[in-house]
Amino acid sequence: MENKSKGRFGLYGGQYAPETLMRALNELEAAYSEAKADPEFQKELEFYLNEYAGRPSLLYYAENMTNDLGGAKVYIKREDLNHTGAHKINNVLGQALLARRMGKKKVIAETGAGQHGVAAATAAALFGMECEVFMGEEDTRRQELNVFRMNLLGAKVTPVTSGTGTLKDACNEALRAWAARANDTLYLLGSTMGPHPYPTIVRDFQSVIGKEIKAQMLKKEGRLPDAVIACVGGGSNAMGAFYDFIGDKSVRLIGAEAAGDGIDTERHAATMTKGTVGVLHGMKSIFLQDKSGGIMPVYSISAGLDYPGVGPEHAALRDSGRAEYYPITDAEAVDAFRYLTRIEGIIPAIESSHAVAQAMKIVPEMDKNKIVVINLSGRGDKDVYSVARYMGVEINEK
């Protein structure tokens, strides 16, 4: 056997996983490469994406926003219109079909905001699988509605109290659980992170977003956009939106990460801005860590971006200069949330609002003949309470 690290993106990626997981990872890698090459699998996936999740999602010309910002033309990729309300379903349908193909009847998942957990529970309901979702205890409080939603879908939600009780701890717990039950269970990992082959699998299943943007843009404008903007936590919606454009050097790829109270405070999740190289959750990438390599607690108003690392392919895209990443504060994200809601009648997820905020910064500086696409990764109904709280508005629905 060759002693060689697999799944590298530049310096990053790899398989920093316990020996107890290596067989499961190798089996998944083999099953995926077989499925990827099988037209039947691709046909099946396309069927569920189109007939169940509602793809292709719309590419909407945001005329009001364009006129108001007075710069580049703004298009919005409506991943919020997918079944379950976010891009997460794209990946989950792919991985659940893979689980079925591998003969696994049980799935587990981690979740932060609850979007991936809801998507996983949905796919499990659809395919008749048993589903357990690990969710930081802190997040189960922030996203109570999603917990109930997962329960309705038949999933068991296990609150994780270890560590900081947020997304990173949910990932640890899901990996621990998988190490014990990999024989009959597949871990449906929700972002472009974790040990190889996950960053590649998730990126491939999400790359439908960028492929559609390209085709839709060529049809509507007869050319490629000048920039694609997406929010980045682990990075799956951004990786999905960027991937098909990596070779198109004229297209700027812009990620917006969560700066919480600001990158000069202790409360943020701005990995690209403030992080350093490290290893966590099975991958080498960029992480927020202290002097001794301890992973730091992170904060963002958005539970989905509240992660101390970033997917390895993003870290490599940053190093090569192919993609740019900028921090967006809670205040900027909430402003963008309210702005898009008022000006276009579209309530964005607080995660996606970070991408909207980044667009609001650069669009006015761009020429009118330029085109920008915002990947609106999810809808914001789930965030109405936390935005109200942020604005000091009390809502009582009892």
Binding site: N3, S5, E19, M22, S162, A182, V279, K291
Partner: protein, 267 residues
């Protein structure tokens, strides 16, 4: 001339006497560094042949709840590798028991791999178990382990394929850490792994000492498993005993008693 690694000397001496090793574990700094040092000496006195020191980390992915909690307790005080190396150097004034770090790769990466292995050699650390650095990624430190004579202890799981086990065996140093059953660290009632097959296969590829760990908590476990291997590793059961002791002397006496009881089947 290089000094012989203490792990190798210890297993050689035991094999000559046809004895098996008792390997014990504690999370270093739980509840504090000074107590941990006393506990190490107490375990050696009570019969531990090799002692693993868990290096506290924020995200110990391969640990069950007991050792996770110990990590949290240890991290309440200021603790880092400089402090730990100093403590190990101090321990080396009174003991020559083989000491092995159990730690996550990010701690090494953050400290600087070369500085880390040089530090191990200077302080008298004989090996390092890195649960999240499998065979595929071990090239990253392999040359340093050879240069400083500080072995990376490789792990084998019940699910490791024959081809994979062979490759791991060929490069293994010190001893092989054979995981008793799937999942994370923590006590288990019984074991369902087919050890006869597992060790027949491993012995075919290497005569390196082999130790079984994960879930071993009682003398009966040791009695039943000792025929397969060269050593038995006990972690969570000791960490539990440390946590249960109300005073420092309770902790030390509790750990001494448990270590002696675990050693009995190996005498």
């Amino acid at each position: 001339m290089k000094n012989k690694n203490r792990i190798d000397s210890m297993f050689e001496a035991l094999r000559e006497k046809d004895k098996k090793a008792l390997v014990t574990f504690l999370t270093f700094g739980d509840p504090d560094i000074e107590t941990s040092k006393k506990l190490v000496l107490a375990m050696e006195q009570a019969g531990a042949d090799l002692i693993e020191l868990g290096i506290p980390f924020s995200d110990p992915m391969a640990e069950g709840p007991v050792i996770q909690a110990a990590n949290v307790r240890a991290l309440k005080h200021e603790i880092n590798l400089d402090i730990i190396f100093k403590a190990v150097s101090e321990l080396r004034e009174s003991t020559q028991v083989p000491l092995v770090f159990l730690m996550y790769f990010n701690s090494i990466l953050s400290y600087g791999p070369e500085k880390f292995f040089a530090g191990c050699k200077d302080a008298g650390v004989d090996g390092v178990i890195i649960p999240d650095l499998p065979f595929e990624e071990s090239d990253e430190i392999y040359d340093l382990t050879q240069k400083y004579g500080v072995w990376q202890i490789s792990m084998i799981a019940p699910t490791s394929s024959e081809q994979r086990s062979k490759a791991i065996c060929e490069r293994a140093k010190g001893f092989l850490y054979c995981v008793s059953s799937m999942g994370v660290t923590g006590t288990r009632e019984n074991f369902t792994t087919d050890f006869d097959n597992m060790f027949a296969m491993l012995n075919k590829y290497s005569d390196i000492p082999k130790c079984i760990g994960f879930g071993i908590s009682k003398p009966e476990h040791i009695e039943n498993l000792k025929k397969y291997c060269d050593g038995l590793i006990v972690g969570s059961a000791i960490v539990k005993t440390i946590a249960a002791g109300k005073t420092e002397s309770d902790k030390i006496n509790g750990v001494k008693e448990l270590t002696a009881a675990l050693k009995a089947p190996l005498m």
